[in-house]
Amino acid sequence: MKDRSIHILNFVGLGFFEPAIRLAAGEETKKNLIALFKKVLLPVLAVGLFLILWHAGSSYLYNVEKDFKIETARIASGNSGVTTELERIETGESSINSLPSPVAVLGAFKTLLADHKEINLKKEAFALKVAPLNEKNLEFNRVNADKIKEGIAAKKKPIKYTGRPSFVDQIFTSLKTVFAGFFLALFLAVPIGVVLGLSSTLRSSFNWLIQIFKPVSPVVWFLLVYMIVKTFTLEYDGDVSFIISFIAVGLCAMWATLVNTTLGVSTVDKDYINVAKVLNLGVGQKVFKIILPSSFPLIFTGLRITVSVAWMVLIAIELLSQSPGLGTFVWEEFQNGANDSNAKIIAAMFVIGGIGFLLDKLMFTVQKFVTFTEEATT
């Protein structure tokens, strides 16, 4: 049980729990205490130090702004101005928008979750309210199916909730976009990479194009995709911003996978190629049984980079495309400029970072599942 859980933890890259489990089982106390100190205590201390520095920095910045406001008020209307200004700051009427403190960020995070609950309640109420209407619409569609087909009657759509999305909704929208973009990158980059890796002629033909497109910035990709998709979706009334943002994310992020796949396929161990030749393997067998498996480690390294890049550029692209995700959230909060806007932005930053970390761990685990190790790793 113990060894099994340690094995699983190491497998998913959470190996730092290992000494704690071993310690709980009473194994080699001294060695595991040192390991626990190194792997858990020191990181916790580092986080604590960071929080202290952050808190000190934010209160310093706050005071600088506060002093400036009071000074301005004193110059404008003397001591009475100072008192009113202090009161206004106290009540939040005159807001000080500098770096928020850790406590403020935690508060903002709680506000966001409470807001999510509230919006969920609204959604439920809305769903209850429109349920009979939606049913009626469905009934209408069923009865008039022939007319709709002939184009006489218009098909009635179910009524959807169109209110403001909550923070949690936006996280899921972002995840949807990033996964759509990731799979686009996967299905574009891996096959192209394999083909390019197999043929040195094609590789040198497309080398220049790849080198040029690889460093293009996410913003430019977004504009490029926008130019093209706009024309194709003139008559489409669905979520165009989602289409644009996921395509842009995919195109931005696919290069690491493309280059790694090409490299992996073109540098398969010569021994394995000799085996394929000696066994007279056909092309399909050679690709699927030898070339792909042996380049899996490199392909997955590429895919891991792709996921991180996709998540990183997603925020910028959503910000531009107004697709309702975390990027839009951050930008709207910045434009909003309310008292707790900055705190919400920082809260979103940590959520973004945390999700990025989890995505990487997810890919890491998948990678371990599908790739081989040449030697036993005991």
């Binding site: 021994d271 394995y272 000799n274 085996v275 000696v278 066994l279 007279n280 067998q285 081989f372 030697e375």
Partner: protein
């Protein structure tokens, strides 16, 4: 007509100034059912020679003929056992062997193919490990799988490129015997490349030393007229064996010294003496 024949075969690697001729003017004939061993130093072009015969490499000059026809590429008819096993690390024993069987017997039903794989794995006593990955096997077991893979395609000829040189002495002895036992069953034509004279004498009908490269050529051949089956322990007291072994060893040492003196002549050594108290000793190594 010889089963396999090499006529004035030469092979070079590199271009321009860096071009070196590895093999030069190789002539070799192997009859059907014959077991030939080629003994040589490391780096003398042994692997190049076997790659030429298997079809992985093409000669620059001369011809490689198999059953009277030119070799134009690898074929199932010539099974190769590689020095470093070359098992696919992502496939287990069954699939490593199965892949070869599948390609060699395309028309065979899946059930028969599986049966064949299992029979051949059984032959090298690896049935308990049939579901294991190469990384879970010892060096000797891996080489057994490699042998099985080559034999399961039922080739007309077996090419072995230093198959046992990466193994420890004990495993090596066991596997030599195992390969001999398998070979004894249908006496297929076999070519063994090795750096171990004893191994050559134990296994082969004929031993040909390969003079070290660059421009390696084959030396004079030595017939092994010892009765089969040969017992390794008994051989040590056999006069014919001793005579033959010494003959080959002397020849190899002689060409080895030629090579060493040729190399040394290019260097000017400083006129200093080492301050070592231990008497220097000479070691003859072919590895």
């Amino acid at each position: 007509m010889a089963y396999i024949e090499l006529r004035n075969v030469s092979k070079s690697f590199g271009t321009g100034k860096d071009r070196t001729q590895v093999l030069s003017n190789i002539n070799l004939e192997i009859e059907e059912g014959e077991f030939v061993a080629i003994v040589g130093f490391t780096g003398s072009g042994k692997t190049t020679l076997i790659n030429l015969i298997s079809g992985l490499l093409m000669p620059d000059e001369g011809q490689v003929l198999f059953k009277g026809e030119r070799v134009t590429g690898p074929s199932h008819e010539r099974g190769v056992i590689f020095q470093n096993y070359s098992l696919l690390p992502w496939l287990n024993v069954r699939n490593n062997v199965g892949m070869a069987v599948k390609e060699a017997f395309r028309k065979m039903s899946k059930k028969d193919r599986n049966k064949r794989v299992e029979d051949y794995v059984e032959m090298v006593n690896l049935s308990p490990a049939i579901g294991k990955l190469p990384k879970e096997l010892s060096g000797g077991m891996r080489q057994r799988v490699s042998v099985t893979r080559a034999l399961s395609m039922s080739p007309d000829m077996i090419l072995m490129d230093e198959p046992l040189s990466a193994l420890d002495a004990l495993t090596r002895g066991n596997l030599q015997q195992e390969i001999l036992n398998i070979w004894n069953k249908d006496k297929k034509t076999a070519l063994l490349i090795t750096n171990d004279v004893d191994e050559g004498i134990l296994m082969a009908d004929r031993i040909i030393p390969l003079k070290p490269g660059p421009k390696a050529t084959l030396g004079p051949e030595y017939k092994v007229n010892l009765a089969r089956p040969r017992d390794k322990a008994a051989l040590n007291h056999n006069e014919d064996y001793k005579l033959l072994r010494n003959g080959i060893m002397e020849y190899l040492i002689q060409i080895g010294e030629q090579r060493a003196s040729k190399k040394d002549s290019n260097h000017v050594l400083p006129d200093i003496k080492p301050i070592v108290k231990i008497p220097p000793f000479r070691r003859i190594s072919f590895n």
